[in-house]
Symmetry: C2
Subunit: 315 residues, 2 copies
């Protein structure tokens, strides 16, 4: 039904904003031909400025062979934008009615063997695809801002999406240099935004209560959890910090701390099932690595992050 994800050479990117522009820059940097669709010619300059800004960083990260800004075409006609596309990244306005109408239109123009990924951060594909006559190939492909730098893409289908389209999108994004996260369920905010949003709401509570300023929040994050989280995430950070015992020690020993008022968010009940899912999940990632080697690796990565930030700030 679908082409080999590795054979894709032409991508259409719909949308002139920071997300559409960021995706366009990313695909160009990975060596694709990209047709960008702008709603209106007047958006061209701002759009090109996003790509020019992104290109500086993309060079530093390393371009794929053949990557060139010359491989970008900009059009304002949707039919033209979709012509020859082997994948479509849609980053239109975040309004359900606008997206529904857009997917109804694209659904009739684009061959049904071409997958469409939506950048939406707040809407569900089950809703977006409601009026599309070819919804089987429509998936969420949610990036993280800035999309030309951060590798994450969260992937999930709607009720009418074919599992093959979801699987194809996962493979394609990986080939295209992204870090795909195949979601288990269609939930509001997906995974990364939910985690960030919980942290953000706690931050707002602290500012509202006069417990911290925005500057305090950022000092705390940048010098505390964030460099480690960039290296290890949060589950493996706790797993590795607990020595031989790993996540089991963390939950069995510090489980009661989940009842402490350390945030306004109530913790879930730490059932045996949840405990086992956490422990087994961390063991799966750790495989047969000894915790001392994981500590050494964590430290190498944090040192790299700290030195890189110091370097970037002194340039």
């Amino acid at each position: 039904m679908f082409v080999d994800p590795k054979s894709v050479t032409r991508v259409s990117s719909l949308g002139a904003g920071p997300i559409g522009g960021g995706w366009t820059a990313h695909f160009l940097a990975r060596g694709y031909d990209v047709t960008a669709y702008l709603h209106d010619e007047s958006e061209r300059n701002a759009f090109l400025s996003i790509i020019n800004t992104a290109w500086v960083s993309l060079i530093d990260l390393g371009l794929s062979p053949g990557a060139s800004m010359d491989r970008l075409s900009i059009v304002t006609n949707l039919e033209e934008a979709l012509e020859g596309a082997e994948f479509v990244q849609e980053s239109g306005p975040e309004r359900l009615e606008v997206k529904k109408a857009l997917y109804a239109k694209i659904g009739n123009i684009l061959p049904s063997s071409v997958v469409i990924g939506s950048s939406t951060s707040g809407l569900m594909m089950s809703d977006i695809q409601a009026d599309c006559t070819t919804p089987e190939r429509t998936v969420i492909g949610h990036p993280f801002n800035p999309p030309y730098l951060l590798p994450l893409v969260e992937i999930v289908g709607g009720k009418k999406t074919a599992p093959e389209a979801v699987a194809w999108a996962g493979k394609f994004y990986k080939v295209a240099g992204k870090a795909p996260l195949m979601m288990k369920k269609e939930i509001p905010g997906f995974v990364a935004t939910r985690l960030q949003e919980a942290l953000w709401r706690e931050a707002l509570h602290m500012v509202a209560n006069g417990e911290a300023t925005p500057e305090d929040i950022d000092i705390a994050l940048m010098n505390g959890p964030a460099p480690r989280m960039a290296a290890q995430g949060q589950c493996m950070a706790f797993h590795v910090a607990c020595g031989e015992g790993g996540m089991a020690t963390n939950l069995d020993q510090f489980g009661p701390a989940l009842k402490l008022p350390w945030t306004r968010l109530e913790a879930p009940e730490l059932t045996k099932d949840l405990r086992d899912r956490m422990v087994n999940g961390c063991n799966l990632v750790a495989k047969d690595q000894h915790f001392e080697d994981m500590v050494a690796q964590r430290d190498r990565e944090i040192v790299g992050v700290l030195n890189a930030l110091r370097q970037a700030r002194s340039d």
Copy 2:
């Protein structure tokens, strides 16, 4: 009352665990003479192993002139441990009764002009200092694990702490190479742990509901929010991402999203006061920088973080 923070040359570090060991390594790397107090001689080997592990990374981050592991003395007698100390970092067991008894003892041995910083993550200084006869100089100096790498130290006094001691601790930690955060209020979990804990509880909820595995959580963080958070925190990340309008645009435009079920944590009411605190706080940090320069700087830092992680993982 207190000595010049810059003149301090000898530090006592109490506690043989990862936090006490990590602090000891940090102070040694910054060129201090360090007397480490272990509760029992049997803890010596594990303690030295923590320091040896830390030292590898501390060399990569750069040692201060004169820094040497030879400047470490290890003792198991508390009087001896405190002799000549110009600052004391206490990283004893996280049990209130143990800490109260320890502060009662130290309070009578150590000259009252020497500040004591506690590494506690879960207790309040108002409680810890209850039985200390010289509580004015006792403060929280809460590090983030691993304390030899992550720069954050959260500083706050208890009810009986003198404001001068809190201010002194802030200056001293800065001289000693840390990133001090002067807290506005004594709240459980301080700032960084509250933020991390909100995120952690949302992660546990997702795993409990079968919405994500621990591996998914970490993939999402490492490839999404974390590299950006290491560069900018979260307030400035939103401020800079919103272009000219900054945090004001973020809150005025996306404020309603705070009502969306994007996490289990209820957001505070977005009052005019909270909105203004957020906006003014971000403007204070941004000073007169143009948002385009801040975007470019953010991108340089994220590129640095991503390249550093890639490098550390391929070594």
